[in-house]
């Protein structure tokens, strides 16, 4: 309080006599704030208070708290001599007991010590001594720095606010009245009774001022502010329709077409001509652009394709995928044919036969009856056990007549899975064949080749191709070395005989039980099957017949040609069963013109025969007979064991036989377009690759599998790989997917090897088909050129001979003439000689006759 008062007094003093004290202060004390009072302390005083300079107090520790009482005491003791006398009043007024003495080493305030006179400053100094350092500022800022928080009071300028303040302020307008209420002492604590009294009773006790309507207060509101918001009013509602009568509706439409007359009119109109004129130029430009350059070709992709052909060697070999042998069924036997199941992937059928030579067969024919040859079905999921085993009746080899026709029956049950009846037994089920041809009707030699006719056409009795109404394959062609090719039909022949006998036969047939649970599908053929047509192969030059081993038709089931099915208009139906089908009369079905009826036959002697199966009518006797073949080529040294068409070109054939193979083009009548050189080992079988037009496989006698690539090398195989130690009997490739192709190779020992075809052998090169086509064309041209050259040479030779002949003739006549001349000349010489002799003799005088005339 006192400090504050002091401060206020000081500041008020300062405020009122603002100018003077500040200048006084400035002149008197060299610029120090008012709460700092510099003192000079003598050494005695310093010792007394324990604040000797540089001993007790130093620059680092300049603060000393002195007790006020001590200072007062000192002042009392030494009176005027005391160092503290100038600050006597301030010290007395100081509120606290301790006053801060600061050693002023730097003489900032003029003396070596100063006293801090206010609490605030003391605190400031003691606590944050850093603020003191700023007190070196001079002038007006001193006032700010000394009291940093409170601003300096400015002289107040009256601006007329005092009146307002006076008006607003509440002040007593009169002295306050004091009332003192007292009660007589004797009434303290006495019971008091209160009672109610109504205000109306005591009229003069109160003043009522009732409410009245003050006019000044009833103001009519003339303006009113109000806000309006527009809100859309929504209302939800629903309806339901009633579908009283459900009814399906559909629309059928067909495209609009113009009548032919209208079309004619339009075509004649000028409008169209102008249109075409204007439009053709643009179109031709666009078409030619496309032909010149394919702008969308991906160069990287095309480049990568070619590179793959020259890729790593490791990938070009056929890898062994799996191999099948069965100890029970196929040991010591040979596989004669393999075929992949066309729809079920991973199932392959293998026919197994005893490997005995012909003589051995005949010798042990009786044994064979008990040991029949089989067809095994292998599936990839079970490499050890064959799945289904079919019986084959090939034991009756000494009766080389019709039993091999049973091969036909067997293969029918092959192709028709519906005809199977599989009896689950302990081992693989054994299924028996369905039908066997009649013994006298079948072939007289073992059937070596058998093929289905495609379902697009069928053949009549005379060999003309007819339209096939049922769209299923019902006819088979077989070939045997007995010199004829037979066409068989699966359907029952037309009923010619009397119905009575037929009925009896039917009843009898019904009574016959089915042995081995063989299904009834081909019962109508069993033992009575006759071929539909028989085509013989008479030799071209001599009498006799060719003994064909393999044949190849132009239209086969494997080919991808599809006749326009819309022409027939028939759709594929479930065929009612072979027993119900009947061979139609040739008159009812339509003849198909564009089926090629010529085919190739490979014979036992290594010849290739090209002939026609349509029977011709002999004009003299009216019988039907087979025409002579058009071409016959002797090319192979041994039996022809393979005759196959390329899957890409309908007219290119591969024939393998003996020690070489040949590639033929149908239509090139001069010879094979490619004939390989004789190899060291026999070629046993060949097959075209299914995906690459230029590649085919040849199997050899020593178990080697040769891969020939016509675009790479034509004089030797591009790759040879050994597959097995025994002779290779059959090769069949099969495409599983676009990434996998398998090659089934069977050998003489009864093992079936499945090899995987590497990418380089299964992926066709860019334009491979076109390149191969070109290659074949050049070969054909070469053949033609060859022939032409031969003709030319023949002609030249004839000419040369004629010329020589003429010369000889002339030479002969010249000789005769000269003879006469010579004689004349000789005579002349003789005459001359005679004269000469005469002359000499005369000179010598030795002439005997004319000697007498001779004188010396």
């Amino acid at each position: 309080m006192s400090a504050k008062n002091t401060k206020n007094a000081v500041s008020k003093g300062k405020g009122k006599k603002n100018d003077l004290p500040s200048s006084e202060e400035r002149s008197a004390e060299t610029a120090h704030p008012d709460h700092i009072f510099p003192v000079v302390l003598t050494s005695a005083t310093q010792e007394l208070f324990g604040c000797r300079a540089d001993v007790d107090v130093t620059g680092d520790d300049p603060y000393r708290l002195l007790k006020k009482q001590d200072i007062i005491q000192d002042m009392k003791t030494r009176a005027a001599v005391s160092d503290f006398s100038p600050v006597k009043q301030a010290v007395l007024d100081y509120p606290e007991d301790e006053i801060l003495l600061v050693f002023d080493r730097d003489f900032t305030y003029g003396q070596s010590f100063y006293l801090v006179l206010t609490e605030e400053a003391k605190e400031n100094l003691l606590k944050p001594p850093a603020e003191e350092k700023d007190e070196e500022d001079e002038g007006e800022e001193l006032s700010e720095m000394t009291v940093p928080k409170t601003p300096e009071q400015q002289p107040w300028v009256s601006l007329g606010s005092e009146r307002e303040i006076e008006e607003e302020s509440v002040m007593d307008t009169r002295p306050r009245l004091r009332y003192k209420i007292s009660r007589a002492r004797r009434e303290f604590g006495a019971p008091v009774r209160f009672s109610d009294c109504g205000a109306a009773k005591l009229k003069d006790c109160f003043v009522e001022c009732g409410s009245y309507q003050d006019k000044s207060l009833s103001i009519r509101r003339m303006e009113k502010q109000c806000g309006v918001q527009a809100v859309p009013s929504t209302q939800s509602s629903s309806t339901q329709t009633v579908w009283k009568y459900p009814r399906n509706m559909c629309t059928q439409y067909e495209p609009r077409e113009l009548d032919p007359e209208e079309k004619e009119n339009i075509l004649q109109s000028e409008n169209l001509k102008n249109f075409l004129n204007s439009v053709t130029a643009r179109l031709e430009l666009a078409i030619q652009q496309n032909v010149i350059l394919n702008v969308f070709v991906d160069d990287w992709w095309a480049l990568g394709e070619e590179d793959a052909a020259f890729g790593g060697k490791a990938d070009t070999h056929l890898k062994e995928y799996q191999s099948f042998t069965d100890l029970h069924y196929s040991k010591d036997k040979t596989i004669s044919f393999i075929n992949w199941h066309p729809t079920i992937t991973g199932v392959i059928a293998v026919s197994v036969a005893e490997r005995l030579s012909f003589e051995e067969r005949i010798d042990s024919s009786t044994k064979h009856l008990l040991n029949p040859a089989l067809i095994l079905f292998w599936s990839f999921s079970d490499p050890i056990n064959p799945q289904v085993v079919l019986w084959d009746v090939s034991g009756h080899v000494e009766r080389l007549q019709g039993t091999r026709g049973g091969a036909g029956g067997r293969s029918i049950s092959n192709r028709n899975p519906r005809a199977f009846e599989e009896k689950p037994e302990n081992g693989p089920p054994v299924v028996c064949y369905c039908a066997v041809s009649g013994i006298e009707n079948g072939h007289k030699g073992p059937v070596t080749d058998i093929q289905w006719l495609p379902d697009t056409f069928e053949v009549s009795r005379t060999g003309t191709p007819l339209e096939n109404k049922n769209q299923i394959s019902v006819q088979i062609v077989t070939c045997a070395p007995d010199g004829c090719v037979m066409f068989w039909d699966l359907r029952a022949p037309r009923v010619v005989a009397q119905p009575l006998i037929d009925k009896k036969q039917k009843i009898e047939e019904k009574i016959l039980e089915n042995p081995h649970g063989v299904p009834n599908t081909f019962k109508h053929l069993d033992l009575t099957w006759k071929p539909l047509t028989r085509v013989t192969l008479p030799k071209v030059d001599t009498n006799g017949e060719y003994s064909g081993l393999k044949f190849s038709l132009r239209e086969s089931s494997n080919s991808s040609a599809v006749l326009d099915k819309s022409v027939t208009g028939a759709e594929r139906q479930e065929h009612p069963g072979y027993a119900l089908l009947r061979v139609p009369s040739a008159k009812h079905s339509r003849q198909l013109e564009n089926i090629c009826t010529k085919f190739y036959v490979g014979t036992e002697d290594g010849e290739l025969v090209y002939t026609d199966w349509k029977l011709e009518k002999d004009n003299d006797s009216g019988r039907l007979f087979s025409p002579k073949p058009t071409n016959c080529f002797r090319v192979h040294d041994g039996q022809v064991n393979t005759l196959l068409r390329s899957p890409f070109f309908k007219d290119i054939l591969l024939s393998v036989g003996g020690w070489n193979f040949a590639v033929w083009k149908e239509g090139a009548k001069n010879g094979p377009i490619i004939l390989s050189s004789c190899s060291e080992k026999r070629c046993t079988v060949g097959f075209w690759s299914l995906t690459r037009p230029a590649v085919f496989f040849i199997g050899k006698e020593d178990g080697n599998l040769e891969v020939w690539d016509l675009l790479e090398k034509t004089h030797e195989p591009s790759q040879i790989q050994n597959v097995t130690t025994a002779r290779i009997t059959c090769i069949k490739p099969w495409v599983i997917s676009s990434k996998q192709q398998l090659l089934a190779v069977s050998d003489h020992q009864g093992t079936l090897h499945i090899l995987e075809v590497p990418r380089s052998l299964r992926h066709p090169l860019a334009n491979e088909k076109w390149s191969v086509n070109r290659y074949f064309e050049t070969e054909v041209e070469r053949l033609i050129y060859f022939e032409k050259r031969q003709e030319m040479r023949a002609r030249e030779k004839r000419e040369m001979e004629a010329a020589e002949q003429k010369r000889k003739m002339e030479a002969g006549s010249m000789v005769m003439k000269r003879g006469e001349e010579l004689e004349e000349e000789a005579l002349k010489e003789f005459e001359e000689y005679r004269t000469l002799e005469k002359h000499i003799l005369k000179n010598l005088g030795l002439l005997p006759e004319a000697q007498d005339t001779f004188d010396d």
Binding site: I266, N767, W770
Partner: protein
């Protein structure tokens, strides 16, 4: 008539051309070198495509008009040359 035939033959003789169809403004084929079912299918579908393309071009710029439309697919290329009353469709197989 001969002129029309001659023009068509000329176009047909170009390399790779598989078929030509002349269609009128409504999409009804007038003359064709392909079989009936394909012709009708092509005419109907391409007529709609051509109308759409033409309206697109004209919407973007009313002064503009479609002169030629080429549809390139994996197997072949369809070229459509429109006009006021007719349009001509040519199917070509550009690569061999």
């Amino acid at each position: 008539m001969a002129k029309v035939e001659e023009t068509l033959k000329r176009i047909q003789s170009q390399k790779g051309v598989q078929g030509i169809i002349i269609v009128n403004a409504e999409g009804i084929p007038i003359k064709t070198t392909m079989d009936n079912s394909s012709t009708v299918q092509y005419a109907g579908l391409i007529h709609q495509l051509m109308m759409k393309a033409r309206s697109t071009v004209r919407d973007l710029d009313p002064q503009n008009d479609l002169t030629f439309l080429r549809v390139r697919s994996k197997k072949n290329e369809i070229m459509i040359a429109p006009d006021k009353d007719y349009f001509l469709i040519v199917i070509q197989n550009p690569t061999e």
